[in-house]
């Protein structure tokens, strides 16, 4: 039984301008101790999936179809009480804006201790605090910073504190939504290294959400590329990056400047992403696709299996 299975999930938002189909028909499977990257540009629905997994969709958003199975149990049909119980204990999230995830008027150590206490009411406060010390050691924050307030922390330390908080209840799955976007490269590198080490140590499954394909490539075993609410390519990272099948993945890779390899021209993707209130009938990428054919515009694209777990949502691959 896989650790987490997302089965044909669709999510939409009711907005002032109509019903917005943010995610449509996305499926993937996460195994224990593995990391799965969801990569895509803003508006592709990757954050929405993360929020849906945690049950934190905003009031105007809801899962319209599909199942999310955590250890075989569908969390979408659970009661609020059950959901609350698995949140943080089985599944934790590292948020995009670490600065906002910490309460500014509470000492960092106490905040994390409290998160532990909420889920283990039988624990003494002292015991919880000593657990926090252990967590700080794990994520590399000096123990004497336990009694500091968040504003005394640097950006990197706040992110580490948020990671410590996510680890507090020993979850099996961590959803990391752009955990290093606001950080400088050197700090980002250190934190990603930390996350990798922790993952190995505790055998955690990680869903890594990012717009930065180079980070996802560094961090993940498997990669899902998302475009306009759909998963368009999925497979082991090496195959996806070395022989991308979907034209969008190819385009994304060739629009990304790198340090290694030869300094070739960047090829930007022309145009803009489609409107998800009235998505196009056929392939959603066809208007920007260099390989598009006449039928791409009208027929919805189909999954094509390329072998060894690599598949793409494109009729031409």
């Amino acid at each position: 039984m896989p650790l987490l299975e997302v089965d044909n999930i669709s999510i939409g938002y009711h907005t002032r301008n109509g019903y917005l189909k943010a995610v449509e028909g996305v499926s993937f499977v996460l195994e224990e101790g593995q990391s799965l990257g969801l990569v895509g540009e803003s508006g592709c629905g990757k954050t929405t999936i993360g929020m849906a997994l945690m049950g934190l969709l905003p009031p105007n958003g809801s899962v319209s179809t599909g199942r999310i199975l955590l250890e075989g149990k569908n969390i979408l049909v659970m009661s609020d009480e059950e959901k609350r119980r698995i949140r943080w204990r089985k599944m934790a999230m590292i948020f995009q804006a670490a600065m906002n995830a910490l309460n500014p008027v509470q000492r960092v150590g106490n905040q994390i201790a409290e998160a532990i206490l909420v889920h283990n009411p039988s624990l003494e406060k002292e015991a919880a605090l000593s657990q926090v010390e252990g967590l700080f050691d794990l994520v590399g924050i000096p123990r004497e910073r336990l009694t500091d307030y968040p504003h005394q922390y640097s950006g990197g330390m706040k992110q580490r504190a948020v990671i410590a908080m996510a680890l507090a209840c020993h979850p099996k799955v961590i959803i990391a939504d752009e955990p290093t976007t606001a950080l400088d490269v050197i700090v980002q590198d250190q934190i990603l290294e930390e996350v990798r080490a922790l993952q190995r140590e505790f055998n955690i499954g990680i869903i890594f959400i990012s717009h930065d394909i180079s980070i996802v490539a560094d961090m993940c075993h498997e990669i899902g590329v998302m475009y306009a609410g759909q998963l368009v390519e999925f497979g082991p990272w090496r195959t996806v990056f070395e022989s991308p099948a979907h034209p969008y993945t190819k385009a994304l890779l060739s629009s990304f400047p790198t340090l290694t390899g030869k300094k070739s021209d960047l090829v930007p993707i022309p145009g803009e992403t489609p409107n998800l209130i009235n998505p196009p009938a056929g392939c959603r990428f066809c208007d920007r696709c260099p390989e598009a054919q006449a039928f791409c515009k009208t027929t919805p694209s189909q999954w094509v299996d390329i072998g060894s777990g690599h598949k793409a949502l494109c009729c031409r691959s």
Partner: protein, 347 residues
């Protein structure tokens, strides 16, 4: 780079410092001064794209703001076309404003939400009284076409809230380019945009240089973007210039431990585990007692513990147009760069 212009500087910075005074409050006698830039000297040549690379808080944005005279230098001098920027007033300042433009980081903040695309792009023309109303519209159309907003008539009367981030940044570029400036500062123009949109913006900036010969200073935190766009790059760390040289050379053959640490940290598409690492960054910082010495010393794994914490390294030349501020590369203690212009040092 155009051969004719090769040795002609358009911009010179000489020992430019910017110190933000700490605010003393009622109860605390004085706050700490923040040194945003520490005696920076560099030249930018006509027709090149010069990259200023640094992390947040490195002073790279401050440098740009000083050049366009949005802020005043604490000490040091900046010359544009051999005229001192800091001394400009009145009509001269207005003429300077026509020649130097800036593209800001956040396209969601840099356009006035109450003004249409036409209002925004035509504003510099109106300010400098260039062309009649009918000519202006044509010039605005041309500028919009040049940044890839076509057909321009579709965009003229749109308001920022009806544009995507990429489109907004194009409008901001059109506003900067509509006066045909000589020198443009692009301050992290793509840090708020997606990769595919960033590439569009990079290509627009490159086209500006290649077609119109606009000299640019590209401020960025991304070495990869700088490598793609720039002819030369300067790496800046907490207000100090660490390394300066041809882009490809600095990235392929970095000499300063900080540049090496930066390159180590950039994700390399999954190859970073097997990639060779310079390993110049300490996992735990050195203790420093005094406020002098090399600014990178506390984090440097290859420092000389006698010299580095005590003296401040100056830039020394180690290759063709390649300069480094590190004692291990033979730097001398830094002094002031002489106030000469007309001939660049080390050229």
């Amino acid at each position: 780079m155009n051969i004719d212009n090769e040795n002609k500087q358009i911009l010179q910075m000489r020992n430019v410092s910017k110190i933000y005074k700490g605010k003393g409050s009622l109860f605390r006698s004085s706050g700490k001064d923040v040194i945003a830039l520490n005696r920076i000297s560099l030249d930018i040549y006509k027709g090149e794209i010069f990259g200023l690379v640094g992390e947040s808080g490195s002073g790279k944005t401050t440098a740009g703001r000083l050049i366009v005279s949005l802020e005043e230098t604490t000490s040091g001098r900046i010359f544009l076309d051999s005229r001192e920027v800091t001394a400009l007033k009145g009509r001269e300042l207005k003429a300077f404003r026509r020649k130097v433009q800036m593209i800001f980081q956040d396209p969601y903040q840099s356009l006035n939400p109450q003004r249409s695309v036409y209002d925004t792009v035509s504003e510099p023309l109106k300010i400098h009284r260039m062309g009649k109303a009918s000519d202006r519209k044509d010039r605005v159309r041309e500028a919009l076409k040049a940044v890839g907003l076509s057909p321009p008539d579709d965009f003229l009367f749109r308001y920022p809230h009806r544009l995507s981030g990429g489109q907004r940044q194009r409008v901001a570029i059109a506003r900067a380019m509509v006066l045909n400036p000589e020198f443009v500062i692009a301050d992290e123009p793509t840090s708020m945009l997606d990769a595919s949109i960033s590439a569009q913006i990079f290509n627009i900036l490159l086209t500006m240089r290649n077609r119109l010969g606009v000299t640019q200073m590209f401020i960025t935190h991304s070495l990869a973007a700088a490598r793609y766009l720039c002819d030369r790059i300067a790496v800046i760390y907490r207000g100090n210039l660490m390394e300066l040289g041809p882009a490809e050379e600095v990235i392929k053959n970095p000499k300063h431990p900080y540049t090496q640490a930066l390159i180590d940290a950039v994700p390399k598409f999954g190859h970073s585990k097997d990639a060779r690492r310079y390993g110049t960054l300490l996992s735990k910082d050195h203790e420093v007692r005094e406020d002098k010495g090399c600014i990178f010393y506390p984090r440097c794994a290859v420092a000389d513990h006698n010299t580095c914490p005590r003296r401040e390294p100056g830039l020394s030349q180690i290759g063709i147009d390649h300069w480094v501020a590190c004692f291990r590369q033979g730097s001398k203690e830094s002094g002031l760069t002489p106030f000469t212009y007309g001939l660049a040092e080390g050229r």
